[in-house]
């Protein structure tokens, strides 16, 4: 019997939870705020779905209801991607070691 592709996705999901668990425990507590802003930025990879939604359908009717939701989602995710990565970068820039 063939294995449902869903099972593969579920395996990826569960393994990633474990990876996330170990990776996040190794994050130093002083970087917990950048951790939150960077997880914010990467979870905006949901923009992939937004792009698909925005471009769905025929090219004559660009602004059907479902496309509009896609475009709105693109704006939201883009704010997050740029905002998230840049603010993380700005924070990380500030962490300096003692000058010897």
């Amino acid at each position: 019997m063939e294995i449902d592709p869903f099972i593969f996705r579920l395996s990826i999901f569960i393994l990633s939870i474990f990876v996330g668990y170990y990776v996040v425990w190794s994050v130093t507590p002083s970087l917990h705020t950048p951790l939150m802003s960077v997880t914010n930025a990467i979870s905006s990879v949901i923009i992939v779905g937004a792009i698909i939604a925005a471009l769905a359908g025929s090219s004559e009717k660009i602004f059907e209801v479902s496309n509009i939701f896609g475009f709105l989602a693109i704006i939201l995710a883009a704010v997050n991607i740029f905002g998230g990565f840049l603010v993380t970068q700005r924070m990380l820039q500030m962490y300096k070691k003692k000058k010897k």
């Binding site: 970087l31 905006s44 990879v45 698909i52 905002g83 070691k97």
Partner: protein, 464 residues
């Protein structure tokens, strides 16, 4: 681009996201980690464009909206003051949540574009996945908005509770599950919309009973939710980058919530159900007898610290409110010139989000190797001459170790009282968030400095 090839690229971008988080294990590797994250995002976006392969007029709009959103995001990122970081993160969470809802709605309205079947006959598994994505996304959105309003001070930080609150939440939660079940049977759009709307309401109800100082837990929890919402959408779209990211973010937020709860010695449910602050207001009234405190001024403080050989600074949320981090750094520079050894002690729940104090100190150019976590530094208080408590309160209360009756009993606290003398900057003797008196105020070795944190620190700088 073939779907197999694009799946491989999505996997690569997922791995880059893992490396982005891995980089945060030390400040040296963290910047590189951030670049990995950006690379992963670029790959994911380009691969999506290539796999759709439709470069018609719609594509131009995609680019325009990307630029519009990106400019807004970049503008915010450069302009936001570091003290506003908690509300910024809450605001960003709400956007992820809402984006998840929108993508789910779009997939529900036009399933054929995502290869999920046709309207009225969407694959059952996809329907469940997109409903979960939409429901969690909606809860994340409205919950984060409330958290944002509370952190921004637009809404009062005190818990809003009413009778039967938890029962209503429970009923609404069950209703969502019920509606998803019915949605699968009927494929009805009305049920889908009702489920989304109820989820928005649940998000609001879930966060309003939680008080200001519990915000570190709330923000971490919403962080986690935004991840699970992304994962739900990832399953719908059969996209491994989204599934991996969702799982990473989901577990990251969950771990942070756990660390924050442990920092307060409270269970997750206790925080979520909004226990503290609200219930303990009665206890502080009856213990309000006038006890003598020692009152000092900036000159006393400067004298004490200048002649000390080691000083430990204990910052808290009050430092963020007063924006005192720069003045504090100046003071420390002055002390170092006098040969005083200075370090900083950070309690896990100091501030309004995990790591809040560390970012503020980093902003003020405090080297991160002078900043220590509770476990690292707690033994050093016994050998230190002066502890300078600025804007912290409950996290220094020795009652947490001695009085089993106290609501904060068992919470890990900084052993500030063990240092030879304690300087406590505070505007008044009012109790902290937990609503209990701080025993430390009345100790013989404590000198209270009644003033605004920033003003007092600046005055000390002058008299050094």
């Amino acid at each position: 681009m073939s779907s197999n090839l694009s799946a491989l690229f999505y996997l690569i971008s997922g791995i880059l996201f893992i490396l982005a988080l891995r980089g945060l294990s030390s400040p040296e590797t963290s910047r590189q980690g951030n670049y990995f994250g950006i690379a992963g995002m670029l790959i994911a976006i380009f691969v999506t464009f290539l796999s759709i392969g439709n470069f018609g007029p719609g594509f131009i709009y995609v680019i325009i909206f990307l630029i519009v959103g990106g400019s807004i995001g970049a503008f915010i990122a450069f302009r936001i003051p570091m003290t506003a970081m908690p509300e910024l993160v809450a605001g960003f969470h709400s956007l992820v949540g809402l984006a998840a809802v929108f993508v789910a709605i779009s997939a529900f309205l036009k399933p054929e574009a995502f290869g999920l079947g046709i309207v009225g006959n969407i694959k059952l598994a996809s329907l469940v996945e997109m409903s979960l994505g939409a429901a969690i996304g909606a809860i994340t959105f409205s919950g984060s908005i409330i958290a944002f309003l509370k952190l921004r001070g637009i809404m009062s930080g005190s818990p809003i509770t009413f009778k039967g609150q938890h029962l209503i939440n429970l009923i609404l939660g069950l209703t969502i599950i019920f509606l998803i079940y019915y949605l699968c049977n009927t494929q009805s759009a009305n049920i889908f919309w009702s489920m989304v709307i109820i989820s928005f309401i649940v998000g609001v109800l879930l966060i309003i009973p939680i008080g200001g100082a519990d915000m570190p837990v709330v923000i971490s929890m919403l962080n986690s939710y935004s991840g699970w919402a992304a994962a739900g959408i990832g399953f719908t779209l059969e996209n491994s980058a989204l599934i991996i990211t969702g799982a990473l973010v989901g577990s990251s937020g969950a771990i942070l919530s756990y660390i924050m709860c442990k920092g307060m010695n409270r269970s997750f449910f206790n925080v979520i159900l909004g226990g503290w602050g609200a219930t303990d207001q009665t206890t502080d009234i009856k213990t309000k007898e006038q006890k003598p405190v020692k009152n000092g001024n900036a000159d006393d403080a400067a004298f004490l610290m200048k002649n000390a050989s080691s000083v430990i600074i204990v910052p808290g949320y009050g430092m963020a409110v007063a924006q005192a981090q720069h003045a504090l750094r100046e003071m420390v520079d002055g002390l170092k010139k006098n040969g005083v050894k200075v370090s900083y002690a950070i309690h896990p729940v100091a501030g309004r989000m995990p790591g809040h104090m560390n970012v503020l100190l980093a902003e003020a150019n405090v080297p991160y190797d002078e900043v220590f976590e509770l476990e690292e530094i707690n033994n050093d208080f016994a050998n230190c001459d002066v502890a300078y408590v600025i804007g912290a309160n409950d996290v220094t209360n020795p009652v947490a170790k001695s009085d089993p009756q106290s609501p904060i009993y068992g919470m890990p606290v900084l052993d500030v009282e063990k240092s030879k003398s304690v300087l406590f900057v505070k505007r008044s003797l009012s109790p902290g968030y937990a609503g209990i008196d701080n025993d430390l105020f009345y100790r013989d070795n404590t000198l209270m400095l009644f003033a605004d944190a920033k003003k007092m620190t600046e005055e000390i700088v002058k008299s050094l």
